[in-house]
């Protein structure tokens, strides 16, 4: 089972990529740990997380094909 992670704004610069796939991950907390391991700098930034375009907080179960997005503070306008 695979999920897709998108990085936006400054976080894409920090991660060095706008997109990364993760396999064998069932919980949001596990995914966050793996992302922090891959990109240790990311924990120094403010961000929220969206699951399939909805901002979420706390634990979530993940399923194959889910789209997770790391969103820095918005800057529209």
């Amino acid at each position: 089972m695979e999920v897709k992670v998108l990085f936006f704004g400054v976080l894409a610069e920090v991660a060095g990529t706008a997109l990364k796939h993760y396999s064998d991950v069932n919980l949001m907390s596990d995914l966050k740990h793996r992302i922090s391991d891959d990109f240790p700098e990311i924990v120094h930034y403010n961000f929220r997380i969206a699951l399939n375009s909805q901002i979420i907080e706390g634990e979530q179960e993940l399923k194959a094909g889910d789209e997770i997005a790391y969103l820095p503070p918005f800057a529209g306008g």
């Binding site: 400054v10 375009s53 997005a69 969103l71 918005f74 800057a75 529209g76 306008g77």
Partner: protein, 144 residues
């Protein structure tokens, strides 16, 4: 009205004029209020902003902008239409990167609803901006 929220590059005067024509076609509208956000040539530390590069989470922009319009339409009963257009990609200083265009039966709700829509966009629309300076350096800006 068929609305595409994001466009590549600046919101041109031609785009704005074409929406005004469509909005004016509603003969029950008595006022249109427009907010046009423009890229400012801010000076910082001896450098000047040449342009902003905007990026967006497109699928979420659609969902959020739909919800903003629904919220505003439900709050102001005199509204006829609410249009949101935001740039992606490069927008130079002096060019428009955001257009909010609101039609209503009367001026008061048009003006108030336009202002509210702009505030909701600033707060909720998943868009990011990178200011590009005249020495090729850049910084990421946010609305906080």
């Amino acid at each position: 009205m068929d609305i595409n929220y994001l466009i590549e590059g600046p919101v041109t005067s031609g785009i704005i004029a074409s929406y005004l024509e469509k909005m004016s076609a509603d003969r029950n509208a008595g006022g249109h209020s427009f907010f046009l956000g423009q890229v400012r040539a801010d000076a910082k530390d001896g450098k000047t902003v040449l342009a902003i590069e905007y990026s967006a989470y497109e699928s979420m922009v659609k969902a959020v902008a739909d919800k903003i319009i629904e919220t505003v339409l439900s709050e102001f009963e005199d509204l006829k239409s609410v249009i949101i257009i935001h740039s992606t990609g490069i927008v130079k200083a002096g060019e428009v990167s955001l257009a909010v265009m609101v039609s209503a039966g009367h001026r008061h709700q048009a003006i108030t609803a336009c202002a509210k829509t702009v505030e909701l966009i600033k707060e909720r629309l998943p868009v990011w901006k990178k200011e590009i300076f005249d020495d090729n350096s850049h910084i990421w800006r946010d609305n906080q």
